[in-house]
Amino acid sequence: MTELKAKTDFSIKGFKEGLLITLGHEDWDEVQIQLLSQIEEKSKFFSGAKVAVEIGERVLHAAEMAGLRDALSDRGVKLFAVLSNSQVTDVNAESLGLKTRKSVLKENTSGFGPAALDGKPAILLQKTIRSGTSIKYAGNVIVDGDVNPGAEILTTGSIFIWGKLRGSVHAGVEGSESETICAMEFDPINLRIANISLKGNKLFRKLKRKPVRITIANSKLAIDYWENRK
């Protein structure tokens, strides 16, 4: 969890569903100006973010919320929830299709902690990774779906795709040559492990659309088809 305390009176935290911004008690126009300028300053960090705002006892009208939502939307930020202690505000939020405290922040109480094994962290993405999507992750990425042309995945670790790889992938972006890339069907626009690219490699043109695992062996990319393993 990253917490960045601004000069102004609000805080920003990461939580499961996006970013949680707790706003201060000043005049609403003032708070909004401060928030928007903060977002503009850190536009890279906020770009594409989903945001919930915590407003405490403050009562917000639908028009004020809609205004905030439009202003955020113009800056590439999606407002999806307004958390407040006021029932009036909750009703207003719901009328705009925003989530409220009731529908967000359900704590995980299952009792399952982190695995006791010495594994590496990974994220599981159960969807098609579509054109225009860029996934940058410090760790390993597992995709249960296709990676379409125009999509890219960059990881410090390995990439596993239970589907068709047709976009661009780069494993081991920090130089680790022990990473692998696996896919069920293989037709990438570009592929790279550490600093070695498949572009220009003769094997690249001969790639079969079959389940494959790609590793680095002797400073070259090695292509290992699943069907040859038997």
């Binding site: 594409g48 809609a66 205004g67 939502r69 439009d70 939307s73 113009d74 999606k78 999806f80 705009l96 299709g97 969807k127 098609t128 579509r130 054109s131 225009g132 999507t133 779906g145 296709d146 379409n148 042309p149 125009g150 047709r166």
Partner: protein
């Protein structure tokens, strides 16, 4: 009952958003539905031309939003079809004249008085597109069977998913069965395989579409047009009818490959 709000979008320009909006609107009206179509392409309005209502415009959407008229005054009644209204875009303004909240409010105002609201989206993924999908309950993505249109459709579908408007449904427009047969055009199943969303209709290439667009009389009014039939089928599928794609296939002896992937009601 409140109207169902549907936005028709594509990413790429020129794939047939406006033509599809006009034809589905008219097809729904012909089925006895009350329909309001909204042209959200502020500055580049077209839907009025395709519907042949261009010379009836007095007020437009921006006039409503900026309070210069009531919404009723901007709704142009199409005298040929009972229950069909158009809210035109402003031609002399740009996308920044409207916000996503304005669109939501506009739709909420007319929701009770109609069965369907169809929104014609501008091309691109910027403000105009965001405005168009803000009020939508369902999004129809239209594409052509070519690589660049499909790539843009993929991007759009991704954005719709992240805005939690999904799952979008797909219209493949301007399929030319002869070219598909010769392997010169992507087949519908190639498009489906990449985009991986539900198909709601395939519109075959039909020169009557262009002719009817130019005279402001949507092709769906031609009883014999094959594209018109395809649009009528989409309208009926929106109403929940189970219409197989076989209709078109039988008439012209085409789409044998498509019928395999396109299995309505058989899931």
């Amino acid at each position: 009952m409140a109207a169902k709000i549907i936005t028709i979008t594509s990413g790429k320009g020129g794939v047939g958003k406006t033509t599809a909006t006009a034809n589905i609107t008219v097809a729904l009206a012909q089925l006895g539905q009350r329909v309001v179509c909204i042209d959200s392409d502020i500055g580049l309005r077209n839907l009025d031309v395709v519907l042949g209502l261009e010379n009836r415009i007095v007020y437009d959407m921006v006039d409503v939003i900026e309070g210069r008229c009531r919404i009723r005054q901007a709704m142009i009644k199409d005298k040929r079809f009972e229950g069909l209204f158009l809210i035109p875009a402003a031609q002399t303004r740009d996308k920044s004249a409207v916000s996503p909240s304005d669109m939501i409010q506009l739709c909420n105002e007319i929701r009770k008085e109609t069965d369907w609201i169809l929104i014609d989206s501008p091309a691109g993924i910027e403000r105009g597109f965001k405005n168009a999908i803000a009020p939508a309950e369902e999004v129809l993505v239209i594409t052509n069977p070519d690589v660049s249109a499909v790539r843009d459709a993929d991007r759009i579908i991704g954005i719709i998913e992240s805005e939690e408007k999904g799952p979008a449904r797909l219209i493949i427009n301007r399929i030319n069965p002869e070219m598909v047969k010769r392997g010169e055009m992507l087949a519908a199943e190639d498009v489906m395989e990449l985009l991986a969303i539900e198909l709601i209709g395939i519109i075959p290439e039909d020169e009557k579409v262009l002719i009817s667009t130019n005279i402001g009389k949507p092709v769906v009014t031609h009883e014999k047009s094959i594209a018109g039939q395809a649009f009528r089928n989409i309208a009926r599928r929106l109403l929940g009818d189970d219409i197989p794609l076989i209709d078109i296939e039988l008439k012209d002896g085409i789409f044998h490959r498509i019928s395999r992937v396109f299995n309505f009601g058989g899931e």
